[in-house]
Subunit: 409 residues, 2 copies
């Protein structure tokens, strides 16, 4: 991978204490969103950085996914450009060209190879981007790039669509005397929102990683986080999670320190993932589903995912109904072995089903607890195996249905 | 399989012209339903008949499923006893004994072996049956058994729970000069309704079949019908479909005539299945999803099922929204191969997506058509293969969510 030309951005402003070194951010509005809200987000690095990417598994993929996917992992990335308000999905050859043009336009300002710019889009499907607006937006954002917290938040804001809240997380970790910083931003409120699409996330860090390490770490962390959430189970055409590592914190980490960093990344992505579920379209509660006792972790995962996706479980949580029958029977139709006679269920810490038999409990009191807590913990034991899994899911409310049905293309 | 003792029911009343010969029916109320509606349903045969059964694939199975499943296929069945209002599911050893006691009680009146009585239950999960009520109900129903259409409809009524309408179908088919009659009844409005469970169906016919033929025919017909519908994708603990063949129409059928009967059965079960979707909890519209061009029929089935289950597709149909992005992207995340560049979509006969590209169409007019039709046909071509599949699904409305969340155990 070739090195890109040196940055044209000098002098560098001082990064915020909470942000990793080597990154500048900007978010601005270019008119893609009729509301006038921010819709162009830039992350530009001071020097070429290592970048890893994890993308949607949907067979129908948006143009920016095709573009970025071909460029990661890499050790020469200079920038990520994201637009919201238009997903550039199902847009054919023109869409492919537009995604590339976004990279080229930003590369022109940076003075780097367009191959070293990644691109993400989120918003309406099947509509061509207004490239004049996008190019103006990129120029406008480029001029205000800064390493400040304010700019970081503006960049995070500019990737949002139907999100009700910003989803960001920052962390400083001491690894072998080095202070490694990580800052992540994400968006997403439905796997596909009404005329919007996608969950997107970018994690920046100043840790020193090679591109294969970064790719493995990101994949592992995604499997522990973004792949364990469900709002409506609909995998978008645009899902993208990127990890950028500038290496400015210090020398390469030992294997031990890398393991520690992996754990921190898992946790950090998990926090972002949980923010997406908390902001799920119409969600009043979220379920924290824990499955244990399965034969393997994979089995536990399938069971947790099946319970998380059941509309009857979701509506039970909406209504504060400790309806163990719906939860246990959802586990029973999951494509993984369970042992019905050993199945136990706890909701909000209360055992209501034990070894295949209902347990007497104060339903009214438990219902009150479920209703008054934003987060409803569900612990499901399905046998005596070692397999465990966690999963986050939002409930299903009339607001979700209204939101997604009272809209016409 | 041993023969049961001769029937104690003589003389037989004359069967209704539309019903197969050899069956009597009754539906009555015994108090399991607080509403006082019918909750005990009997089908008693004049002589031992062939019976086949298809049951839930849920690993958590109700006691009546355990009971009936062990008895089919059979050539000695004398009766089916069904209660509604209580699913006898997750009820442990006591539940197993109660299901057996239902068979024994009815067998006592008939004078047959309890092994020749099948049992089904539907209703609330995790509550023991009040056996005094059930036994009184069986006695009461037994006394009024008749082969009349009125009794058939009462028996069909007595298996219902949250159903808004009776689901019955009858047919007379001429096969090699024989008039074979088939009469089916079904219930189900959600795979699991709020405090109710299950889809149940019983198909009676006077065709002559051996028990293996009956089992194969029923399984084939179920795969073409009840396994191709979705209200909420939640497989119940009690799902049961039975086929009873009395053989009173005439001698054994030729292979050709059997093939014809199979086709009629497929269609007949499909009609019952469609009635369940039409009566789906809160449903305003149903989708008739047709997938073609897949590599195999199995692939087409998986794609159709995935589209049918997507909450975003369902809410689009609720809103009369010709949102091809949601449908095409749901196909894209199905666990079966699609060819994005060859994917085409028609809604209500109008092509709106062709070979991976959106087609200009009058969205307002199509939306009006979708809104004004109870049934919305969706035709999705995913490549050039020979694989096809059909699937029925209800839409997702606020009424579904209210119905399933505004209830507390």
């Amino acid at each position: 991978m070739s090195q890109s030309p040196p940055t044209s951005l000098t002098p560098l402003d001082e990064p915020s204490d909470s942000l990793p070194k080597g990154f500048r951010f900007a978010g601005t509005a270019c008119g893609l969103k009729a509301s006038g809200k921010k819709d162009i987000s830039l992350i530009v690095t001071d020097r070429p950085v290592v970048a890893a990417g994890v993308y949607t598994r949907n067979q129908i993929v948006a143009a920016p996914v095709v573009n970025s996917r071909s460029k990661t992992p890499s050790c020469s990335i200079r920038a990520v450009v994201t637009n919201s308000g238009n997903a550039n999905a199902c847009t054919g050859q023109q869409g492919i060209e537009n995604a590339q043009a976004m990279c080229e336009h930003l590369a022109g300002f940076i003075g780097c190879d367009p191959e070293h710019v990644l691109v993400m889009s989120t918003g309406v499907i099947g509509v061509q981007l207004s490239m004049d607006q996008v190019k103006n937006g990129i120029e406008k954002a480029y001029k205000v790039l800064a390493a400040s917290t304010e700019n970081f938040l503006e960049a995070a804001d500019a990737i949002c669509t139907t999100d009700q809240s910003l989803k960001v997380v920052t962390r400083a970790i001491t690894l072998e005397g080095q202070t490694v910083k990580v800052a992540g931003m994400a968006k997403g409120a439905g796997m596909i929102a009404p005329n919007m699409a996608t969950m997107l996330a970018v994690i920046t860090t100043d840790a020193t990683l090679d591109h294969q390490q970064a790719q493995t770490m990101l994949k592992t962390a995604c499997n522990e986080s973004f792949n364990r959430i469900s709002v409506d189970g609909h995998t978008s055409t645009n899902d993208t999670v990127l990890l950028l590592a500038s290496g400015e914190a210090g020398p390469e980490l030992s294997v031990e320190a890398q393991t520690q960093l992996q754990q921190e990344l898992n946790q950090l992505l998990n926090e972002l993932a949980k923010q997406i579920v908390l902001d799920g379209e119409g969600a009043k509660h979220i379920m924290a589903i824990q499955v244990c006792g399965a034969e393997h972790d994979d089995d536990a995962f399938i069971i947790a995912k099946t319970v998380a996706a059941s509309p009857l479980v979701k509506t039970a949580i909406t209504g504060g109904d400790p309806n163990w029958g719906r939860i246990v029977s959802a586990a029973g139709y999951a494509d993984a072995h369970i042992s019905p006679e050993e199945t136990c269920l706890e909701i909000c810490g209360e055992t209501i089903y034990e070894n295949g038999t209902p347990v007497a409990f104060d339903a009214a009191r438990l219902s009150e607890t479920m209703k008054s807590n934003r987060e409803v913990p569900i612990v499901l034991k399905v046998g005596r195996g070692e397999g465990t899994a966690k999963y986050w899911s939002s409930d299903l409310t009339t607001a979700y249905v209204e939101f997604n049905s009272e809209y016409t293309t």
